[in-house]
């Protein structure tokens, strides 16, 4: 779906441009930051983008309460601090927060389950926006529903703010496994499969043809070490988000740099061993099994 926006130089806000920025982020690490100083540390470490937040997911868990879009002033300060793309989160279904983020000039909006959902039935219709959206998923149906709504990038949900990679692995394996199974299906089965997983038929067909999601697919939610990042890359994602894992560790700059290197050299165990050494204490973390259902952020989204 094209919007037909023009800016005097050419067409803007097309799906190709939205998805294209995500293609430029591939093989990279997107880091959660809560201050301009964090953003500069992330850029210096080699982050491909930063996610501007008031609280990292680990603190949202501890402090509780309603988690909303960040203060525009903070987002503007972070935009001014770095040359790399700046992302920010809006609540699921909160299209006005999304409009505000677009007006601020953020480069990507994460319609995120980490914030408290604003709508328990509907996600944002992302097509009319000029700014691209990234959305979380746990399986192929959820990924294709979000793409159907206009998401130009997908990430696994994992379980944010835990430092436990197990859910990110589960979701990546589920999505990638679903795609592998889809590729073995004869075409006459695709409509029923689309119905079964609640996905738009044309995106099911396209995913089968491409042998991958039609947009870039990152891992997120629980990545805390260089080895975690490389694990997700070897499983087959295009890049990683690291939320609380960097700035909740004892030496954020070194850990950030190491995770960047591990994401590039994910297939080189020698380099992974070198960069994993002497990084100090990782974030303490929470075992996902210890969470009660209400504490599981990944269940948010429909």
């Amino acid at each position: 779906m094209e919007n037909g926006y023009q800016n005097g130089r050419g067409e803007t806000g097309s799906f190709k441009l939205k998805a294209g920025l995500a293609q430029m982020l591939k093989g990279g690490v997107i880091m959660d930051v809560v201050t301009p100083e964090h953003a500069r540390i992330a850029e210096e470490a080699g982050a491909v983008a930063v996610m501007a937040l008031e609280r990292v997911p680990a603190d949202i868990r501890v402090q509780g309460g309603v988690a909303r879009m960040s203060d525009p002033g903070l987002i503007k300060e972070i935009i001014a601090a770095v040359t790399i793309p700046v992302m920010a989160k809006c609540r699921i279904g909160h299209f006005v927060e999304a409009q505000i983020l677009e007006a601020l000039g953020v480069d990507y909006i994460d319609e995120s389950e980490v914030l408290t959902p604003a709508d328990e039935q509907y996600h944002v219709n992302k097509h009319p926006f000029k700014v691209p959206f990234v959305c979380g998923c746990r399986n192929l149906g959820e990924a294709l529903r979000r793409i159907g709504e206009g998401a130009a990038m997908i990430r696994t949900k994992g379980e944010a703010g835990t430092g436990d990679v197990v859910e990110a692995v589960r979701h990546a394996r589920t999505v990638l496994g679903d795609i592998r199974r889809l590729q073995t299906m004869p075409d006459e089965e695709l409509m029923s499969y689309a119905k079964e997983i609640g996905a738009p038929y044309h995106l099911v067909v396209q995913t089968k043809e491409m042998g991958r999601l039609p947009v870039v697919n990152f891992a997120a939610g629980g990545i805390a070490t260089p080895a975690d990042a490389a694990l997700m890359m070897q499983l087959g994602v295009d890049g990683v988000f690291v939320g609380s894992g960097i700035f909740k560790s004892s030496d954020p700059a070194s850990r950030a740099r190491a995770i960047v290197q591990a994401t590039t050299h994910y297939n080189n165990p020698q380099i992974l061993a070198e960069v994993s050494e002497g990084l100090g204490v990782p974030m303490t973390g929470i075992n996902v099994d210890s969470l009660i259902p209400a504490e599981r952020l990944a269940a948010r989204g429909w």
Binding site: G10, K16, L21, M24, G27, P85, G105, P132
Partner: protein, 191 residues
């Protein structure tokens, strides 16, 4: 013919897919030894700060400069920034071409755009995606501007075997710029 694609970060798979379509053998370059035996190199779009820092960490800066002195190299978007001598910001640069480049010259992502660009040497306008793209402020000495937008903004340049484009031919289905780069390799430019 064997072409390397710098695979530290960014849209390297799209370049590789286009080169495969053109029947070319491709090598992913992440470490200095991967440059051995290559006839040319493409530096893809991505984040130029990330690519520069990873190149520095893995001792690629001097090997890349030495390679470029004797082979064709093409930089798209971040690759163009990385090949420039001057960008007015402090980040690792190869400093190959005598060009002045401005990063994010058209604004933020909402200002990213597509248009058709007339390029010297190509028969018809080229479909170009500008994604948080840089522009050329100046090309000096041997570097020649080979494409401008309607408003005169310079978006591609060439200096013998070195080619830079602000935009992303690897995101289109149009192979003409890849074919043009391969012709520079065949001619033995810079060799």
């Amino acid at each position: 013919m064997k072409i390397g694609v710098l695979a530290l970060q960014g849209a390297f798979i799209e370049h590789i897919a286009m080169l495969h379509r053109l029947g070319v053998e491709v090598v992913e370059v992440r470490l200095p030894e991967h440059l051995d035996g290559l006839d040319g190199l493409i530096i893809p779009g991505g984040e130029s700060t990330t690519i520069g820092k990873l190149a520095e960490m893995y001792g690629l800066m001097e090997p890349l400069r030495a390679f470029a002195a004797a082979h064709p190299v093409w930089g798209t978007c971040a690759g163009m920034i990385f090949m420039a001598k001057e960008i007015g910001l402090s980040q690792p640069l190869l400093g190959l071409m005598d060009i002045v480049v401005e990063r994010n010259a058209f604004g933020r992502q909402v200002d990213s755009f597509t248009t058709h660009v007339t390029i010297t040497g190509l028969d018809a306008p080229f479909p170009a995606l500008f994604i948080r793209a840089p522009r050329l402020i100046e090309a000096r000495n041997g570097a020649q501007i080979i494409a401008r937008l309607a408003d005169g903004t310079a978006v591609a340049a060439q200096e013998n075997g070195w080619l830079v484009t602000s935009f992303h031919p690897e995101l289109t289905n149009d192979p003409r710029l890849h074919q043009y780069f391969l012709s520079l390799v065949k001619q033995g430019q810079n060799v």
